[in-house]
């Protein structure tokens, strides 16, 4: 059956080509598209007339309407399946009223999405194709026009979640600003930051801060920028040189601004060295090779590897460990975390990296965001348990509430 369907779909283009030729000659395009198996032979010297296709049940309930929740340019066609149909051919009529084939669907499908021009009225009909080339065309649908929507209704749940999250974060920020002490549990890797920077100061060596190899849009890179600000404040206070090599030009620009701002905030703008934050190269493995060179030549006492890391993570962490530096690493890239765990002294796993900036700075804005995330996690845990209990008792799937594809 499956092979028959595939065969039927493969032969469709030939049928369309025949239909187009028929239209070009002046004949009706669709009716002559597929020749019947029992076409009669014509007398010598006269062109053969194609036999009309044998009748086949037509799909019922064919509808065409603008595809909802999209940016326009699409009409959704639906129909009721015909038992025994091998495939379906979808035909479209524009302003001239002539139907032309625009697509095909397998016997298992009962929907088709047609790419069209916005604002133009189109009518459709669906032709069911039988096993011997029989055809059954549905009546033409009512005219449908495509148009873009301003609001994607499928994402209403996401929009509500984002608004709720913002409100919760704002509420926690307000509490923190009023002086309320918001508790954050101890995170071992972050407790060691002072010790790590202090060690570099005592040894008279620089601190190396690698903000990952991700782009600025990565959440881990944004978190890393916040942590960089706090660590740069400490190096400014201690008078310890900091080196910040960058892989991405935009991250480089942000890093530079963050370090400069941190030195100013620490009251040491004069100690800021513009050359301490520099761009190396965009290729991540070339970046790893260059940073390895910095590690063995500059011999920093402390390495921070915080941000998005990929294949280069172990190359960086191994070389850093071989130089004897204290290493504090953190990323939200799960496949890279095991390498950091084995090669670094402290590892911030995923969410701990996001929490790091709030933990170090204790600023109300960041504490509010951290508390908001915690509230979100608590809500998700409660939803998981409640949804599971509901689904097991009623036999319904509570997960559909979280579905974002409504159509």
């Amino acid at each position: 059956m499956r092979w028959a369907c595939i065969l039927c779909l493969l032969t469709l283009p030939a049928g369309w080509a025949a239909a187009q030729e028929g239209a070009a000659v002046g004949g009706a395009p669709v009716e002559t598209a597929v020749a019947g198996a029992d076409a009669g032979e014509a007398p010598l010297g006269q062109p053969a007339e194609p036999a009309p296709p044998a009748p086949f049940p037509a799909p019922a309930g064919a509808t065409a309407r603008d595809k909802p929740n999209d940016g326009g340019g699409a009409i959704a066609i639906r129909w009721q399946p015909v038992p025994g149909a091998m495939a379906y051919r979808i035909e479209r009529a524009g302003e001239d009223g002539a139907f032309v084939p625009v697509g095909a669907a397998s016997a298992l499908e009962n929907a088709y999405e047609d790419r069209v021009e916005d604002g133009v009225a189109y009518r459709y009909r669906v032709v069911a194709l039988g096993p011997a080339g029989e055809e059954g065309a549905s009546p033409a649908t009512l005219p449908a026009r495509s148009r873009p929507q301003w609001f994607n209704g499928d994402l209403t749940g996401v929009a509500l979640s984002v608004v709720a999250f913002i409100l919760v974060v704002a509420w926690f920020i307000r509490r923190a600003r009023r002086g309320e002490q918001l508790f954050v549990r101890r995170i071992a890797g972050l407790e060691a930051v002072d010790e790590a920077v202090g060690r570099a100061t005592e040894m008279g060596r620089p601190v190396l801060y690698i903000p990952g190899t991700g782009r600025i849009e990565d959440i881990a890179t944004v978190a890393s920028m916040n942590v960089l600000g706090e660590i740069a404040k400490k190096t400014a206070e201690f008078g310890t040189p900091i080196l910040v090599p960058n892989r991405d030009p935009v991250v480089f620009t942000v890093s530079r601004e963050v370090v400069k701002g941190a030195y100013t905030a620490a009251g040491r703008p004069d100690a800021y060295d513009p050359n301490s934050v520099f761009f190396l190269v965009e290729n991540s493995l070339a970046f790893a090779a260059a940073v390895d060179g910095i590690m063995v030549r500059e011999r920093p006492a402390t390495n921070f590897l915080l941000g998005s890391f990929f294949a280069e993570s172990l190359i960086l962490a191994e070389v850093g460990a071989s130089t004897g530096a204290i290493q504090i690493a953190g990323t939200d890239q799960v496949p890279q975390l095991p390498f950091f765990v084995v090669a670094c002294d402290y590892t911030l796993m995923g969410e701990e990296l996001y929490a790091a900036s709030a933990y170090l700075s204790r600023e109300p804005l960041m504490l509010g965001a951290l508390k908001g995330q915690d509230a979100g996690k608590l809500l998700f845990m409660a939803l998981l348990v409640a949804g599971t209990i509901f689904s097991l008792i009623t036999g319904l799937d509570a997960g559909w509430l979280l579905s974002t594809s409504g159509y």
Partner: protein, 232 residues
């Protein structure tokens, strides 16, 4: 042995040994390989950006719009952001040029405009995308239903597996809950979570190491087959 006569193969072999020489210690060969790698990569990136981004996306639409305006006069179509030739590309172009403002001492502050736009846009875009693409589907997949115990999905064993996933997810979320000290029930939840996390790390570690070993094998095959012709 069937030595390669292709000079570029031997250049590749030389550079491979230059990089591998770092396993012994930092040395002039490694420095040469490292600097060449960085230089070539930067040159490639610069060329790519100019020919694939700046010219087709910024320069060409603007110059074509300019030419059209000269021959046919100004029209609304030349300010349509979706048109292949339009004047609006100049706006992101100028904002992008603000990155170079740091070279002009009095105008350094201008660099904050593209940074703010870039970060605001991407952070705003990534949060809903994260909820839609990651959080909601994973929550849906984690919830236990009667279908989890369906014989077609593994029956009782499939149900137990689904229950393990649920326990693992709740335990892991508990570990990453920062508002409570890990004491009492929270401690038990967090310890359960970290067990699941470490099991996941172990599997991931083994899988990734295999991939790295295959990369090393690829280099050895290059030397032994392409250069020396020892293996086929």
């Amino acid at each position: 042995m069937n030595l390669s006569t292709d000079i570029w193969v031997w250049v590749g072999v030389f550079l491979t040994f230059c990089i591998y020489s770092f396993l012994y210690r930092d040395n002039p060969f490694y420095k040469f390989g490292e600097h060449l790698f960085v230089g070539v990569s930067n040159a490639f990136t610069l060329s790519f950006m100019v020919h694939r981004i700046i010219i087709p996306i910024l320069v060409r639409p603007f110059t074509e719009a300019w030419r059209t305006a000269g021959s046919e006069g100004l029209s609304a179509g030349l300010f349509n952001p979706y048109a292949p030739s339009n004047f609006l590309v100049i706006i992101p172009g100028v904002i992008g040029c603000f990155y170079f403002a740091r070279f002009i001492p009095g105008l350094t502050w201008l660099v904050r405009i593209p940074i703010a736009l870039f970060m605001g846009y991407y952070v705003g875009r990534s949060v809903p995308a994260y909820l839609e693409g990651s959080v909601f589907p994973q929550m849906r997949g984690t919830m236990l239903t009667q279908a989890s115990f369906d014989p077609a999905q593994g029956g009782i064993l499939g149900g137990i597996f689904a229950l393990l996933v649920l326990v693992g997810v709740i335990g892991t979320l508990t570990y990453f809950f920062f508002s409570k000290e890990h004491k009492g029930v929270v401690k038990w939840g967090a310890q359960t979570g970290i067990v699941f996390v470490m099991v996941g790390f172990g599997a991931s570690f083994g899988f990734t190491v295999m991939a790295r070993v295959s990369l090393a094998i690829g280099r050895f095959i290059f030397i032994l087959r392409d250069a020396l012709g020892i293996v086929t």
